[in-house]
Amino acid sequence: MMASRRRGRGPRRERSPVATVLSWLYALLLAAPIYYLVVSALKTNIEIFIRPFAIPATWLWENFATAWNSAALGRALLNSVLICAVAIALTLLLAVPASYALARGEGRLSRIITNAFAAGFLIPPFAALIPTVILAIHMGLFFTREFQMLYLPASALPLSVLLLTQFMRTVPRELVESAALDGAGHWHTLTRVFVPIARPGIVSVMILQLLTFWNEYLFSLTITGTAPATRTVQVALPTLISDSTNYGVLAAGTVLTLLPVYIAYSLMSKRMQEALVAGAVKG
């Protein structure tokens, strides 16, 4: 109790003024491009060029409508939502039973499987982009959303399984034993004992992987493709670049694409931060 309260307040330490200045300087560097993006979204090209960081003289709201229509962002958002929803459901369907087994399993084989997932986590998905495209062609799913729905869970499995296994390990032994003595089968033990206790972990994995799926770019570009009917929002956005880019419209489109993630973040910033940190902690 004492320790956790202390930790909440954090250690009282002397702080160097240099560190304070540098930390805010970096914060300013982070914020400047985002500020520039937001003010540019309401300007014409000429105003962006002449008065780059100023507040817009007249607020050009139609940039948003233009971006929405010319990149077909509505359709793209829908495609992204659809791919993310199916992919996350499939991820959990595969990862939850696997982590249940690894949390309960003992012995060499169980360790080997855990290590296999740990090694899999280190493989950067981009490494095998081209063979994956060829796989999509062979499956007859090239330029479809369906392939991404099937592929994204595979790329998310190692981390999801590892994180979920840690959460499933927190289930008290006595609960497992008493369920076994009740004659509960695996399905019952999993859904009635393990899933409720590991729920915070499942939510973390969901948040983490939803964000990863939502932000995925290269596989969406090359496999789902750039056709307006199938492309995701991340692929639709760069189509606003042309030989005569309207920077205001591009900025407006970028803001629109960023908005869903920031709304989610403002609604549950703490949970999201926890989930993302957990995702990186597991190395």
Partner: protein
């Protein structure tokens, strides 16, 4: 549920049989991992192994029939000056981005963990690049770094007109601009991770060190850093892999490897050879090479951190 505990204790089964059964059950339960293992093998391991096969094929675009040429591709790739330029570019990118990012973000994370005034706002700002996709990052900096963009506008406001240049279209600054974007994205986000890890350490140790009169800088590097060394090693590995492998996306969005070959990294070369220049064999030789670099780099990072641990 709990009440059934008692009779079990009264009549325990013979230990050896119970153990045998438990072992059997433990094996059986692992079938639950079969679907995800199969899924991962099919979509991730399969394509990874296929790279090695494709690297030995002459394959001029996805719609054509490939033919086996063995190691011919390897010789062709290694003789290509573009490939050599890509090695240099990747080495520069990784060699600057990672060694700058890790110490800087550790120090910022250490500062963040000391709860300075406004640390909440700082941590939100630092965290936000973690939410922003690569495609959005690309668009933000497409605007910032264009000839009439924010960077040049700012230089103009500050009276530094002589520095104004097309940052992404100038061979002298294109790669540096991309590295800057890597740092822009990575430093704050990694600082938040370090801060989270540092906050899970007992504060007493650091306080004790300061009572002993250890300076700020010494406390940070000689007391706090060794305690998170394993984590620093993990983050370095992840940032290294991330930078080396995924640079293709940002380059595709911003420079297409140019001007000339000034921003052609190994990662972008894999992409460009397959999709723009329709030479899949070449692309996958580079892909395999990148994989080898990745494994070697992980070994080196592991070594560097382990050696330092022994010295302290």
């Amino acid at each position: 549920m709990m009440t059934t505990n008692a009779p079990a204790k009264a009549a325990p089964p013979r230990p050896s049989a119970a153990k045998g059964r438990a072992h059997l059950r433990s094996r059986k339960i692992l079938w639950f991992t079969a679907p995800s293992l199969a899924w991962f093998a099919f979509f991730s391991i399969g394509p990874l192994l296929a790279m090695f096969v494709i690297a030995t094929l002459s394959w001029k675009g996805l719609i054509y029939q490939p033919s086996f040429v063995g190691l011919e591709n390897v010789a062709r790739v290694f003789a290509d000056p573009v490939f050599r330029a890509a090695i240099v570019n990747s080495a520069v990118q990784v060699g600057i981005a990672v060694p700058v990012m890790i110490p800087l973000s550790f120090m910022l994370g250490y500062h963040l963990n000391s709860r300075p005034r406004g640390h909440r706002l700082l941590s939100i700002l630092y965290f936000s690049p973690g939410l922003i996709s690569i495609s959005i990052t690309g668009m933000i900096f497409y605007g910032m770094m264009s000839p009439n963009g924010g960077v040049n506008g700012l230089l103009d406001l500050l009276g530094l007109d002589s520095l104004i240049r097309p940052w992404l279209a100038d061979p002298a600054t294109a790669l540096a601009s991309l590295i800057t974007i890597d740092l822009w994205r990575g430093v704050g986000w990694t600082a938040v991770l370090f801060s989270a890890r540092l906050s899970s350490l007992p504060a007493e140790v650091i306080e004790a060190a300061q009572i002993d009169g250890a300076g700020r800088f010494r406390t940070m590097w000689q007391i706090a850093f060794p305690m998170v060394k394993d984590y620093a090693s993990t983050l370095t590995t992840l940032q290294f892999l991330w930078t080396a492998f995924t640079s293709a996306a940002l380059i595709l969005l911003l420079t297409h490897g140019g001007p000339g070959t000034s921003t052609t990294t190994l990662s972008y070369l894999v992409y460009a050879k397959a999709f723009s220049q329709q030479d899949l064999g070449y692309s996958q030789v580079v892909g395999v090479f990148l994989l080898v670099v990745g494994v070697a780099g992980m070994g080196i990072i592991n070594r560097v951190f382990r050696d330092r641990k022994e010295r302290i």
